[in-house]
């Protein structure tokens, strides 16, 4: 096994393209797979030295370098202020050790249906920037995943940046994750919610779910139902049933179809109730 340690992006790109070439970021997924003898890399391109560890504000947008660690995201004022839904999710990831090593690029590229940064990035409608010797392209996160562990990255490409719009003050959000225990746990189901609220009326609703399908998915029908609806107990009860019908989860070692389905409703309901109560509290 050959390990390359390129100093810049251009050099890194020259090593990519081979069949058994793997990119190494934090290694918290990759090394586990190698140890499990799930993959047998011929060469490894370590991208740690590429200066892709940054969080920048660019007008209305936030740009996050692919090598930004989960812990850096969690501690970032910028993320906390302009992408709180992501901030909340990264706070629920792994353990301190994993958060220090794991990167946002790795979490996305790894394409786990349970990846914790992904549902918030769906809600933020993030764009993923990919570079190759052929050039550069951007892909919406909603179009990025093709299956468990599968994505649209070509062999000669890698992720350099994640871009999304700042959340604004009329936006409401939540992220919910159910695991088997408090830390170091993979989601049985996760749900990210975003939308705009005027008075008690919702608009531009976006809902993304983790661990209920082969990739993270949008719950489009459920979101559409909520658009331009006033938040009431009845609406919340109805929508928490709609989402259960919209998804097709599976049973695996972490949970069951029935539980996951039920939880999609329960998590959405809890989150929406919290929003509704805080609106009511503010209004009175």
């Amino acid at each position: 096994m050959k390990v390359y340690n390129p100093k810049n992006i251009k050099e890194a790109l020259t090593y990519l393209g081979g069949k058994d070439t793997h990119i190494l970021a934090g290694g918290t997924d990759l090394i586990v797979r190698i140890k499990d003898r799930d993959i047998y890399p011929k060469s490894i391109v370590n991208i740690k030295m590429l200066h892709l560890d940054y969080i920048k504000i660019n007008g209305d947008f936030i740009k996050v370098g692919a090598l930004t660690s989960v812990e850096t995201l969690y501690r970032s004022e910028i993320i906390n202020t302009y992408a709180p839904v992501l901030s909340d999710a990264v706070g629920k990831m792994g353990s301190p050790q994993i958060r220090n090593l794991g990167t946002i690029g790795g979490n996305i590229a790894n394409a786990s249906p349970a990846a914790d940064t992904v549902p918030p990035l769906f809600v933020l409608n993030a764009g993923i920037t990919l570079k190759s010797r052929r050039g550069k392209r951007a892909v919406a996160i909603g179009e990025f995943f093709t299956g468990p562990g599968e994505n649209i990255i070509e062999r000669d490409e890698f992720i350099t940046e994640v871009v999304f719009k700042k959340m604004e003050s009329d936006e409401v959000w939540f992220f919910k994750k159910l695991g088997q225990r408090k830390a170091l746990t993979i989601a049985k189901i996760s749900l990210a919610f975003g939308g705009r609220l005027s008075g008690r009326k919702l608009n531009e609703v976006s809902i993304a779910l983790g661990a209920v399908a082969s990739t993270v998915i949008y719950a489009k029908r459920t979101a559409d139902f909520l658009n331009s609806k006033r938040l009431t107990r009845d609406v919340i009860d109805v929508v928490s049933k709609i989402i259960q019908k919209e998804i097709e989860p599976i049973t695996d070692i972490r949970s069951t179809v029935e539980y996951r389905r039920k939880m999609a409703g329960a998590l959405l309901k809890q989150g929406l109730l919290d929003i509704m109560y805080s609106v009511i509290a503010r209004q009175s």
Partner: protein, 773 residues
């Protein structure tokens, strides 16, 4: 009163552990070491038709491949227990028949673990597949696949029905008892599989010493049983083997099992090279497990809470081999039923083979599974007769000075020994715990969160009466220090420290003057090992006797040196002092006198100890939980354990055992679960997928030691290592009922199962289907 006992003396091995000194089995590197890896069966039930190892043997770096074809076939039990062993002889080094997914087909010894792993894959095996049986109830039926049909096994009661053993005892008159009852309830409770997950997996290193004797350095609870079992399986005499137990990274019962040692030893004997055999974490999961037990329990009670009849029937699943099969089954009755005052009791047990992972000893040893049933049932009875759970507990338990006919009727794998409870502070434990939990009868609604309270009482034993034996040797050095040599086995529990404290207290010196060396079959006297909560009580008893003997000798020399008779002498602070003249001789002077001057000899003594009783430690547990009604998740808010372990020789270490048991138990109750595929293969054999509690999950715990004085124990001590694992399952089940009014009679209490019990989800597919077994 005491100077050394009852004090939080620092562990004798504390510094070296913290500094990372090379203290564990794996911390030595020997020249020319070979590394061993298993080839395991992919089938739950199959016979090896042919096995071709040529490709593997040809590989560079492969030293030896072992299969059933080139290893001795000596039926034995892997359970490291007393002799003659109570478990059936149903195992051989490499069987020809595979009995669970993971059974051992072959192993490779190679220059590196990687080569060994690659070589394992090159072994070509042809199997004749047999139909498996996973459900223990099915296993008993006529026509079920017969798992142990080999001719040379022994000690299996009815191999044709996969029945390893059974027991039935009756005391009083059951029918009359139920006749007198105002309420009779009958329910079925199921306690599940679990693994001990010691931080250090099973590991052994073997080598030949400079004289060609076999040395086995192993992470074991039972060094002397390792020596005996290996000698038998290898066909060599005991004198050719030395077993050393270094520091251990946890065991909890799984290392009361001897099954890697003789394979590594065989490799060393064949190749004359050192060999290392370490299980991977995933192998560790199916090394040994807790016996899943189904309990059908029928209890009759009067309106005032008096218990009139208990009928307990258990079916224990020992998996593919019968390690600890009958003894665990007996224990489910013998360590549970005597707690309850009830004149009419029946206990019936059956233990069966299935094509699932092998069960074995696990902290609690059957009692844990039993208490889940009895302590859940008591709450169900309490509700029926309109009594508070804690009031019923106050009423029905055995008290100091009382006995139970069960002690006599049921022992471990055989009849028991009658005994009277000579120490119990259980009533105080219940009162103190009840006070600390601040049980609210009707906690206020908290939105989607529901609060609930639960309790459970429990006991265990201290050693196996008239079976467990420990011995100690103490010798005196010329600086007035003492070598304490014990066969007893410190697993990380701190037993080396408490045994030193017992010696120091008796010899009237500070503990630091005691140099402990333990668990080396060449240099320490015999001890059965660390199990059955025996070390403090049994091995501690041996240390006490030995220290007293040495003290007598010291005084004898003091008499001569001070020219004073015994009656006029006292011993204090490492000196023998004349009560009359106040003149004294120090231990140093006494030792030097004995070694160099008068009547020259080594001051030394060895004593052995057994006990004809097994005084139970008692505990009362109380728990407060919050259930999220939306998600079914349970949060343990507070856990209170009040424990009577007699005198706590080292309170910090005793509390550590209690806290450890509680976390172990809560994790077992809430998250730990074996999930099998339809082939009986464990699907979640990793820490990624088998969730034990992390530091983040640990609730507020309050541990109170309530001392009693056990007259038969060293300085009044009883055991503390196991008893508290019996509480969490029933206490939490009872708290769930208190919170949301549903009774869950099957562990673990996952959110899925809680919601199902609450009628929130219809049925559970797949995931929970298999672990019925």
């Amino acid at each position: 009163m005491f100077k050394e006992v009852g004090k939080n003396i620092q562990r004798v091995d504390g510094y070296s552990l913290v500094k990372g000194n090379p203290v564990f089995t794996d911390d030595i590197d020997l020249k020319d070491m070979l590394f061993i890896k298993f080839l395991r069966s992919p089938h739950p039930h199959a016979v090896i038709k042919s096995i071709d190892t040529r490709e593997a043997e040809k590989m560079a770096g492969v030293a030896l491949v072992l299969t059933h074809q080139n290893t001795p076939r000596v039926p034995h039990t892997t359970a490291g227990q007393g002799y003659p062993e109570p478990s059936p002889y149903d195992s051989v080094m490499f069987p020809r028949k595979m009995r669970f997914v993971g059974d051992r087909v072959a192993c490779v010894a190679a220059e590196s673990p990687e080569i060994a792993l690659d070589a394992v894959k090159k072994i070509d095996v042809e199997y004749k597949i047999l139909s498996p049986v996973f459900n223990p109830e099915d296993a008993l039926k006529d026509g079920a696949p017969i798992i142990h049909d080999e001719k040379d096994s022994s000690g299996i009661l009815d191999p044709k029905h996969n029945l390893v053993g059974e027991v039935e005892v009756n005391v009083g008159n059951l029918d009359a008892g139920f006749g007198e009852a105002d309420v009779v309830l009958e329910n079925r409770y199921e306690a599940h599989y679990a693994q001990h997950t010691p931080i250090e997996p099973h590991i052994v290193i073997t080598y030949l010493d400079e004289n060609g004797r076999l040395v086995i350095r192993t992470s074991t609870q039972v060094p002397f049983h390792v020596r005996r079992i290996c000698a038998n399986v290898l066909g060599i005499s005991i004198r050719k083997i030395r077993v050393i137990k270094p520091r251990i990274g946890g065991a909890f019962g799984t290392k009361q099992e001897v099954y890697l040692e003789y394979i590594a030893a065989y490799v060393t004997l064949q190749t004359e090279r050192p060999a290392k055999f370490e299980l991977t974490r995933s192998e560790e999961f199916t090394s040994r497990t807790r016996h899943p037990i189904i309990t059908v329990l029928k209890v009759g009670a009067r309106k005032d809470g008096t218990l009139t009849a208990i009928d307990m029937r258990i079916l224990s699943n020992t998996g593919a081999y019968g390690s600890h099969a009958t003894t665990v089954m007996y224990n489910t009755g013998s360590k549970v039923l005597p707690l309850y005052r009830c004149p009419n009791v029946r206990f019936e047990g059956k233990v069966v083979y299935t094509n699932l992972p092998v069960a074995g000893a696990y902290r609690g040893y059957g009692a844990t599974q039993g208490y889940f049933a009895t302590e859940s049932m008591l709450d169900e009875i309490a509700e029926k007769i309109g009594m508070a759970p804690v009031d019923l507990r106050r009423k029905i338990h055995i008290k100091e000075g009382e006995t139970s006919p069960i002690f006599d009727a049921l022992g471990e794998g055989k009849k028991g020994i009658p005994q009277v409870i000579s120490s119990s502070k259980l009533p105080l434990c219940i009162e103190e715990g009840f006070k600390l939990i601040k049980w609210k009868k009707k906690p206020k609604e908290e939105g989607k969160m529901k609060r609930g309270y639960g309790c459970a009482i429990m006991m265990q034993g201290s050693g196996i009466p008239a079976v467990d034996m420990g011995a100690a040797t103490i010798k005196m050095n010329e600086d007035g220090s003492f070598n304490l040599l014990v066969g007893a086995t410190d697993l990380g529990t701190g037993s080396d420290t408490i045994l030193a404290q017992i010696a120091a207290e008796t010899l009237k010196v500070p503990t630091e003057r005691i140099i402990v060396y333990s668990s080396d079959t060449d240099f320490t006297p015999f001890d059965v090992g660390a199990y059955a909560s025996s070390t403090t009580y049994i091995s501690g008893g041996a240390v006490l006797k030995t220290a007293r003997k040495v003290l007598e000798e010291i005084i004898l020399i003091g008499e001569k040196m001070l020219n004073e008779s015994k009656e006029n002498l006292k011993v204090e602070n490492g000196k023998v002092v004349s009560k009359k003249t106040n003149s004294s001789v120090t231990y140093r002077e006494i030792a030097c006198n004995a070694l160099y001057e008068t009547n020259q000899h080594q001051i030394i003594a060895s004593m052995s100890h057994i006990s004809h009783k097994s005084p139970p430690p008692f505990a009362a547990h109380f728990v407060e939980i919050l259930i999220n009604r939306g998600t079914g998740k349970i949060k343990v808010e507070k856990y209170v354990a009040c424990v009577d372990c007699g005198t706590a020789i080292n309170p910090k270490l005793a509390e550590g055992q209690v806290e450890g048991s509680i976390i172990n138990g809560i994790s077992y109750a809430l998250t730990e679960e074996f999930i099998f595929n339809k082939n009986g293969k464990m699907r979640n054999a990793s820490f990624r997928d088998y969730k034990i509690f992390t530091a983040m999950d640990i609730p507020e715990m309050k541990v109170v030691l309530i001392p009693s004085h056990e007259p038969s124990g060293p300085f009044g001590a009883k055991s503390v290592g196991e008893v508290c694992i019996n509480g969490p399952c029933p206490a939490i089940a009872n708290a769930i009922y208190d919170a949301v009014g549903v009774r869950i009679r099957k562990t673990p209490f996952t959110p899925e199962r809680v919601l199902k019990a609450m009628g929130e989800i219809e049925h559970l597919k797949d995931i929970h289907k298999m672990e019925n077994y």
